[in-house]
């Protein structure tokens, strides 16, 4: 029993550098910035009026304590500030904290603000949210709780911060790794149960379904013999993720394949922000080890020769 406890502790609190945290911070900063810029012209129309109120009313059935834009709108109304002004301010703040994360200024404050503001937007715009919003919430939630700032941030240089506890850094990285394994495992498992992923028809349907039809179906149909292979590969990559991502032998190929899959989703389905967040989470969770291994192999070789 004691050895199980020790093993579990060792697994969860395995020491780590803050490279993964820097990747997560910069990646999420870029994501939040692009997210804000991409919705600039439709921000007010997507988040104002009846649809927002209906989404917030439904949210209240779940919980009264989840942050939402309605709180700010109601407070601002007390001092005669219009809904549109509040939404514009929220947009500007989200863009600001996105840039803050990107360069690492006031990292902790930026991470908490980005999580809070994005959560408000995602919940109040519940009817216009999709998977990308959930993954961004997940990423920002972990970033906010992780030991910031990292040594690549501007904060580190300006404040001359001390290195953070490597075990705590390792713990939050492990949580992100485990969460990704759960995400891909269940995504792959549920796909395996659909006949359409084995015969390729779901690949075809997902690529021609509006608004994901970024490629002309006339061109797509010429590749129809590849769809069953693509469908099986997607199932294999996702379902096999928790089994092949941990081993140093298969990690590189699995990580690269998953990232390549998300690049294809971005290009073929126009889901650029969704793909970016998935790549950021994957590279932050499992990328740094690969780079470190390469460095170690190169730097230790001369010592081995000398010995």
């Amino acid at each position: 029993m004691q050895s199980v406890k020790t093993g579990l502790f060792g697994f969860l609190f395995s020491p780590s550098t803050d490279t993964w945290l820097a990747i997560l911070r910069i990646g999420l900063g870029l994501e939040v910035t692009l997210y804000s810029l991409s919705l600039r012209s439709d921000w007010i129309s997507l988040l104002s009026g009846t649809a927002r109120k209906a989404a917030e009313a439904l949210l209240s059935l779940e919980s009264h304590f989840v942050p939402r834009l309605g709180w700010f709108v109601a407070s601002a109304a007390q001092v005669s500030v219009h809904e549109e002004a509040v939404l514009s301010m929220a947009w500007a703040c989200l863009l600001g904290v996105g840039c803050g994360l990107l360069v690492g200024v006031a990292s902790r404050f930026s991470a908490i603000s980005a999580w809070l503001l994005h959560l408000c937007v995602a919940k109040s715009g519940g009817f216009v949210s999709y998977g990308m919003d959930n993954f961004l919430t997940i990423g920002l939630f972990y970033l906010m709780l992780s030991p910031l700032p990292d040594r690549y941030s501007l904060d580190w240089r300006l404040r001359k911060s001390q290195p953070k506890n490597p075990q705590l850094l390792g713990f939050w990285r492990r949580v992100l790794q485990l969460h990704l394994c759960i995400i891909y495992f269940f995504s792959g498992l549920t796909k395996c149960f659909g006949r359409g992923w084995w015969d390729g028809s779901n690949v075809w349907r997902s690529l021609i379904r509006p608004p994901f039809n970024a490629i002309n179906p006339e061109i797509l149909v010429t590749w129809k013999y590849l769809f069953p292979l693509a469908g099986i590969l997607i199932c294999l990559l996702e379902f096999g993720y928790p089994f092949f991502i941990w081993s140093t032998r298969t990690r590189k190929i699995w990580l690269l394949s998953v990232c390549a899959m998300h690049v294809v989703i971005a290009v073929a389905m126009g889901m650029y922000l969704f793909s970016l967040i998935m790549i950021v989470l994957n590279v932050a969770a499992f990328g740094p080890n690969l780079i470190r291994t390469e460095h170690a192999r190169i730097s230790f070789r001369p010592h081995e020769i000398i010995l």
Binding site: S45, S63, V128, Y130, L136, T137, F141, I208, P210
Partner: protein, 174 residues
Amino acid sequence: MAEGPTVLPVLFKNFSQKAETALSTRIGQKLPASNPVREALNTYVQLAGIEIGYGYFAPNVPAGYRLLFELHYPDGGVEYELPSVSSAAAGLRIAGLLDSIGRTPYDALREILVKTLAQAIWREHPDLESVRAILESIRLPTAREFTEGKRQSYEFLYAYDFNLENAPAKTNHH
């Protein structure tokens, strides 16, 4: 799995339904809405972004929906328009909204959401006499059907008429 068609036998569907019920009970979803334990759990999962499952496009890719607006002008002219946004990123979100409209089992909620989009159309065309919003499900052709010349088609689901007061006057569906 408990709801949709899969390659698994019916027996597994029954098991999934039982498992879903057991899990719902375990995570407090069977408790009254006002129960503090349920509310605390719901708050946490919403804050962490883990309130939904991860079965995107699984087990199968669902059908999409189209909302077509029939714009009626005082001179008898009729025009057709789809909900429009300025960017592709917002377009993905409108598609999500149309999915919510198409899938919700609540007529009142569907009507509210359709009305929201109709009001946006009305703001762009203030001289309209009435607007009919037609919700259709999109039927996608298979790759083989596509090579045979078949293209995506639409199946009528609901229609909502909005008059000058912007109030839904009549609802038709089948």
